[in-house]
Symmetry: C2
């Protein structure tokens, strides 16, 4: 509980390698996460090779963790292995559809979080790269993922070489709804986001980016509508190409 | 680590309630999971009311945990709260697309797994209901979810009233790939699934279901192509209706 409570994203790592035994133990334990029908609809690709990391980095917008972390893990939604088993056992698999992708992606994401919790409990630091689903096509090519396999999350892992401040979170009552969803009135939004907007680092962030509000940094700089729409099309194309719709 | 290693799905619960303080502490800690751009793209709806559980149960194919667990949690991908904040801060949100749904669903699933780990560490038992994305439209109606909110996972929680056997998992080497994905040869499949197929409970399962192979139980009885395709269409319609594509 304490290690989760104190959790921070770690982006700087010591050069120290992660022993293979430890990594395998963490992965094996992570695979105890719940999985639909015990089908284990995921695969994990381990990247330790410096050359491959260098090729992976631009696919994650050159975030430096990809090359500086001793280990990069790509968690994939995988219906390939299960479908191959079916075919080999006189069973006709029917998992080339969007629902099956979501089932496999869910399985993979539960395992991803389980891995992070376990790794952090053992003193490792992790960083979750949301960029995985921005460039899935090129990641698929580099990691040689077959049909019915799509990367959904990437984690960089290593021994921490920094001790950053913990980031803020919204108040609990802004996220948890009793019985039914209570939609947010203007006053609720002001109350929930007030503390975040008042943080000195966020005020500085607004100043540096020369926007009028903190929200504009998200909409106009970091996560723009046009980019999201282009990447949505790209992601759907990849799902189609990988046989999921 | 030990509680994750020994993890079992718990489907039978004592009548004992979960104190509100404990539930809130678990949720608040779970929200320390990584989240894209610290946007916290999720909401959780807590169901304790017996009448609402009774209405929720058929949407989860009448799995008995929905009515017997003291608490049912529906984890939702949520871009509503964040978009409302943007609109209120002279920023134009661009999150009505498929990529944004996947971002929010990922955030929500990481939190879901984090919650389960924490709850189990405190002696609670959980069951993950994959049925959430089978009937999302009706769940949306019952829980009054607005646009840009879609349920992605449901967890039933309570104090365990059973101690089931731990289910099997595939060998580690069948899931973890070094550097690139090594696709499975027929011999690999035989080796990986051999132990599962030899389990007495699975042999009995095949006998009872009168299939020739264990795989046929999945393809012909539990997770059928026609059902998956119908539910895929349904899920995509719901994403559209909720404004995500």
């Amino acid at each position: 509980m304490e290690s989760v409570k104190n959790r921070r994203t770690i982006r700087k790592y010591k050069s120290q390698e992660i022993p293979e035994d430890l990594l395998n133990e963490l992965l094996e334990t992570a695979f105890r996460a719940p999985t639909m029908g015990n089908m284990q609809l995921y695969s994990v690709v381990v990247t330790r090779d410096a050359e491959r990391k260098a090729k992976l980095a631009p696919l994650h917008f050159n975030q430096p963790m990809v090359t500086s972390a001793p280990v990069v893990l790509t968690f994939c939604a995988d219906f390939n292995r299960f479908s191959k088993w079916c075919e080999q056992r006189k069973a006709v698999p029917g998992y080339d559809n969007f629902l099956s992708f979501m089932n496999a992606a869910s399985d993979a994401l539960l395992v991803t979080q389980n891995f992070c919790t376990l790794a952090e409990e053992k003193g490792l630091g992790t960083c979750y790269l949301g960029t995985t689903i921005y460039n899935p096509g090129q990641i698929i090519e580099l990691l040689e993922l077959p049909k019915l396999v799509v990367p959904v999350a990437t984690i960089t892992v290593g021994y921490p070489d920094e001790n950053p401040q913990q980031t803020d979170r919204l108040p609990l009552k802004g996220i948890v709804h009793q019985e039914v969803y209570h939609d947010y009135a203007a006053t609720d939004i002001d109350e929930l986001f007030g503390a975040k907007e008042s943080l000195p680092e966020n005020k500085e962030f607004v100043r540096i980016n020369q926007t009028e509000t903190l929200a504009q940094i998200f909409t106009d700089i970091r996560y723009k509508k046009a980019d999201n729409e282009a990447m949505s099309g790209n992601l759907l194309d990849v799902l189609k190409k990988q046989g999921f719709c």
